[in-house]
Amino acid sequence: MAVKNYLRERFMPHIWCPGCGHGTVLNGLVRAIESMGMSKNEIVMVSGIGCSSRISGYVDFHTLHTIHGRALAFATGVKMSKPELNVIVPMGDGDALAIGGNHFIHAARRNIDITAIVMNNRIYGMTGGQYSPLSGYGTLATTAPYTNIDQGFDVVELSKAAGATFVARTTSYHVKQITDIIQQAILHEGFAVVEILSQCPTYFGRKNKEGSAVDMMKRFKENTTPIGSKAKQENPELIERGIFVQKELPEYCNEYEKIIQRASAK
């Protein structure tokens, strides 16, 4: 099946700005699903609010475009009530980790079989460029005109600490890695977090003088390195890419099936 068959042309044109990294994520995601030969009927995509969250409208799955920050809570209801469905939750950095931070850590803690994709462009794009919990110290935003004094989260470290059993990171420059990691995240039985650094030339790039979309993607190429590489040892400032955690722990819906057996036996 062609990639096109996974998209809803009726929904186009999309809302993303020229140069936005989110389209690359959509491309990588759809290719991952295509290569796995999954039926469209068995996939539910749940999203919140923001630029990234519009991704759910563009794909031909069961799609649930919810409220800001709560996508994982809706997704938990979908998954637990019908565990045979594959549930994918794309979120922005603010959606996932500011307003949705509590749901994020608790979904990770439960290890419910959901694939969470954090499309991290370090800014609130839809509202016009305010700082997010991923903007980082010293950046500029419309709500940080004198530079941002908020420290940023490290999505990978946060996910690990919260109990996610699959944690990975890549960027919109590393397109093949997006597809590869999303495939593995979907196959993983448990809560999977995939952070994808995505460029927002319109707001983050312009405010922080990072140049064009191409310049920003080059930066992803130059500032990142595979996990444990020699380059990382020489330059600790580099951001690591790849799969950080991939382990088996009891999955929530499977565990609840055991509860049902235990309760029915009484």
């Binding site: 809803r8 009726r10 929904f11 469209k40 009927n41 068995e42 539910v44 749940v46 759910s56 409208g57 031909d60 799955f61 069961h62 799609t63 649930l64 475009h65 919810t66 409220i67 709560r70 809570a73 809706f74 997704a75 938990t76 209801g77 979908v78 998954k79 637990m80 009530s81 019908k82 045979e84 469905l85 509590n102 749901h103 608790h106 609840y256 509860i259 049902i260 235990r262 309760a263 029915s264 009484k266």
Partner: protein, 382 residues
């Protein structure tokens, strides 16, 4: 002794009724005085293959039941004041996306943390207007365990019939009180099942196109029709739209499907209203004391009656006006500062003859309280 007679808490009655109605997914968060609903369902649901989950907060609980409703399940959450406040945004989402679900609010005193273990009926207006934006809502209540059972089943039926959230506004007294419940037989109360689309695979299904009778057949997530659900204004496919005609049409539909069916949704009980000079209007636990007053004064020759409202929203204006036609005085007995009194005044021909009989101190209103206030208001020894 028959084993269909139980002596249980109101919260447990709500659980029994929800299971009777077909509840098979519950998400909640502990909060007084509703916690027993979650506790009982944690035990009962897995016994029948249903699912119970304790979420990280009430926001998540409300969201989770919406997700589970979309996969084809009958769903419920239960909470009290502060938790109900947290649920408001997602409640509005359920209104907009037309998701059948039941939200129980066992009311305690507010605002804020208020008085958690004491009774109040202070959330009546919050149920009506708590979520932002124009909308219609269904909120129901009951005063006895037998009625808590019936109304809870009705809430599920109405949620399915109109594809809407339904709020059950119980209160601490009804929730924690123990009294007799005769369990209805399995087929005694009719149940409304989810209306699913008959549109075949490969044919364009319109999740948001009402049939001629106003109902919108659903398709479970995971089955052959893939569609979009959103809290944005949307067209018949569920695709976001800012077309003024679409926006206007959808808001009208959301309001009209409830407000045009007030008669179908209205549930009430009446006592001695035929010749009543004094009409008490009450609901929930307060109606128990109001009924006691009526039954005490009738044998003493007072022409007093009671209209017990079980559907609070949409407010049954015509019904209240008709029932109060011959009344000299109307007394709204409620445990708040006049939230239903306002609605009654709007409905009746003589709003100046509508008086509030209330308590707002966390203490349950007694028949003596009511009689004393009637005496003061009427200036005679009623």
């Amino acid at each position: 002794m028959k084993n269909n007679v139980k002596f249980i808490q109101g919260n447990e009655v709500c659980v029994e009724a929800a299971l009777y109605a077909g509840l098979d997914f519950f998400a909640g968060y502990p909060i007084t005085p509703s916690t027993e609903i979650a506790e009982h369902l944690a035990t009962r649901l897995p016994q029948i293959g249903g699912k119970f989950i304790q979420m990280e907060d009430e926001i998540a609980s409300m969201c989770a039941i919406i997700g589970a409703s979309l996969t084809g399940h009958k769903v419920m959450t239960a909470t009290s004041g502060p938790g109900f406040s947290l649920m408001q945004e997602a409640l509005g989402y359920a209104v907009m996306a037309e998701i059948p679900c039941v939200i129980v609010n066992v009311q305690r005193g507010g605002p804020s943390t208020g008085i958690p273990t004491h009774v109040s009926q202070g959330d009546v207006m919050q149920a009506r207007w708590g979520t932002h934006g124009d909308h219609a809502i269904v909120a129901m209540t009951a005063s006895t365990h037998q009625d808590v059972f019936a109304i809870t089943v009705e809430a599920f039926n109405i949620a399915e019939t109109y594809r809407t959230p339904v709020i059950l506004l119980f209160d601490e007294v009804v929730g924690h009180m123990r009294e007799r419940l005769v369990m209805p037989a399995p087929d005694e109360i009719p149940l409304v099942q989810r209306l699913r689309t008959s549109v075949k695979e490969g044919i364009d299904y319109h999740p948001y196109l009402p049939r001629e009778d106003g109902r919108l057949p659903m398709s479970d997530f995971g089955s052959v029709h893939r569609y979009n659900v959103t809290g944005l204004y949307h067209d018949m496919w569920g695709f976001p739209s800012d077309n003024p005609q679409v926006v206007h049409g959808l808001l009208r539909h959301l309001v009209d499907k409830i407000e045009n069916n007030v008669d179908q949704i209205a549930r009430y009980k009446e006592y001695y209203l035929d010749d009543a000079e004094y009409v008490l209007i009450s609901y929930g636990s307060a109606a128990r004391s109001a009924l006691h007053v009526v039954e005490h004064l009738r044998p003493r020759g007072e022409r007093i009656g009671l209209l017990e409202l079980q559907t609070l929203w949409p407010f049954p204006n015509d019904l209240v006006r008709e029932k109060c036609e011959g009344a000299r005085y109307m007394f709204v007995v409620e445990l708040n500062m006049g939230q239903i009194r306002q609605a009654v005044q709007t409905a009746v021909e003589r709003p100046d003859r509508v008086f509030l009989v209330n308590r707002i101190d966390g203490v349950f209103i007694t028949p003596t309280d009511i009689r004393n206030m009637l005496r003061m208001i009427t200036g005679k020894g009623v």
